[in-house]
Symmetry: C2
Subunit: 349 residues, 2 copies
Amino acid sequence: MPTIRDVARTAGVSVATASRALNGHSNVTDGLRKRVTDAAAQLNYIPHSGARSLTRQRSDAIGVVLPDLFGEYFSELVRGIDRIAHQAGLQLLLSNMHGSAQSTATAIRAMRGRVDGMLIMPPETDPAYLVSSLPPGLPTVLINYPSGLVDLPSVAIDNCYGARAMTEALLSRGYHRIAHISGPRDNRDARERLRGFTDAMHESGNEQSPLILPGDFTEEAGAEAARLIIAGNVAVDAVFAANDMMAVGCLAVLREAGIMVPDQIAVAGFDDIPLARFTYPALSTVEVHIADMGAAAMSLLLAQLHDQDAPTQDQLLKPALMMRGTTAMNHKSMRQSTANDQREERELS
Amino acid sequence: MPTIRDVARTAGVSVATASRALNGHSNVTDGLRKRVTDAAAQLNYIPHSGARSLTRQRSDAIGVVLPDLFGEYFSELVRGIDRIAHQAGLQLLLSNMHGSAQSTATAIRAMRGRVDGMLIMPPETDPAYLVSSLPPGLPTVLINYPSGLVDLPSVAIDNCYGARAMTEALLSRGYHRIAHISGPRDNRDARERLRGFTDAMHESGNEQSPLILPGDFTEEAGAEAARLIIAGNVAVDAVFAANDMMAVGCLAVLREAGIMVPDQIAVAGFDDIPLARFTYPALSTVEVHIADMGAAAMSLLLAQLHDQDAPTQDQLLKPALMMRGTTAMNHKSMRQSTANDQREERELS
DNA sequence: TGCGTTTGTGTAACCGGTTACAAAGATTTC
DNA sequence: GAAATCTTTGTAACCGGTTACACAAACGCA
């Protein structure tokens, strides 16, 4: 593997000249430049980015540390990040913190010296520990982390706002006895969604202690919640699940039990997973643009990279409602919102 | 940001001793080692991985170059790669070659000097060009690339085998007039699936020139194919789409037209996307373990990394059939395979 | 006590680039 | 024609680690 010294020797110049020629500096005569580029081509020279970034004091790479690397959520996030990073000529160094705070620290430390900045989506862990394991002076943006806890800019989805909006939309459609299937108690998103729901219910004055069913974001949890409602014969005219998978599970059990959706009970979810458009009836949900969150985080980081102390405004992305068949207001027609019926009503931007 | 020289100075030792102490070499007295680790902790020293990899001549990172960074396919692939890479203590440097062969070469060159090996999923481009832009001597494994074209180990899904197996399964269930909705002509997977289908049909002797409808992997293409079949009143008792999205589009149009699936026409797809279990009836398809392909590629690369000239056996991963409601043999019962009915019949391993 | 061996530490070279500075040559200015 | 300035090139230091080698001290053995 040839180095720049090989190129210089072949071209009959010094390494300094070779470096300058290859990097397009202006103070190199055309003749020499050609000799250098020819030599580089002949030797099939590829510069060693590692060595380059050592002297340049920049790597043109940014580190991305995520709690998990799977599912639509992950790929969307990375896609959004890459969209911005690529056009800025930055590479992505990806790391998965496999659960423990310990391995999070390891992952973060391993990035030092090979990235110019970091994007971190931290688990629900001690923020102090997170900050302590962070290389000081390395521009960092947090993803989906409540602002205020640590002194770093962050980007997050406004889960509370989304849940509140969906709840209000249900109320305005005439559903008043709304039950909520909550997500895991130790999940920040789930807690925020629950809060949005209860806030909206309290403010409406319709129901002071709405039914909250426990869930864990799985399809089965949604199914179980539906069984509880049916068995308990609870007076409920709408179910708002904290995510789409639970809504899907709920929907299936309700239909199986012969309960008409949305005529007897409306159903709503959260996330707008691809499947949501294909349930029967199509699922009303809250559309979360994960890719946009990734892009926003990357843009924020880019600003920091460009100007070390750029103003760092935390960002809260507002999700939009996607009202489909499972919450139709018109109770007469059931033949609406089939899989290929893609009329969608976007209510909020 | 403190360097190892700062640590050495604080501990009152030479950089060599500091380095040895921090890396756990045995030839350091306990007293000095403690002084060094204490100094490192006090200064919050984090080693500079870039500099480290320069001398070590290894980066403990591998480069992953993919044609696109979105969808389930991508996240599954990365998940499989990470599973193996993480337990080997390797980081992932991710790169998207945005379409052009030009930018592929750029992406690959940018990795030189910061990775120990590469995993590449090349586009349908000139293999010679690909190889020429590859740093020689850098262990590389190709993903989903036909073996034989270039002299590099590769891992791929046996699309032809999967399509053949599904076609034979349909034939054995009594469907003989099978139409195929093909994928884009310039897509390797699509061509292989088509080949598997036509091979199986020819060998069966049932139909010498089966109907091939053009498609492009989109839901709409599947819908259009279904409309063609309905409008043309073609004698067809099964449709095998080259991917699930087209099968879903096809299914929706057939149902809308009042055609009973699977009684009048059976439908099958390819990929086993999450949605496949939730269509009505649930979609029979070919299960492709993308994560396994990523893991296999990473394992192959790991073997190369460990032993520069380990035997490089190309791998062809055989997909499995998932027969669900859209190809049921029993035509009497329609109430099968609803969303929450997850009985699945695994036919091949 | 003197000699060879082992052990622990420091000095300095090296990885592969970039760039400050010096020097030489070309050009301009008086 | 000499001095001042600008341009082009080379030498060598540097980025932040690792490690070959040299060397001194401690140890074992006759």
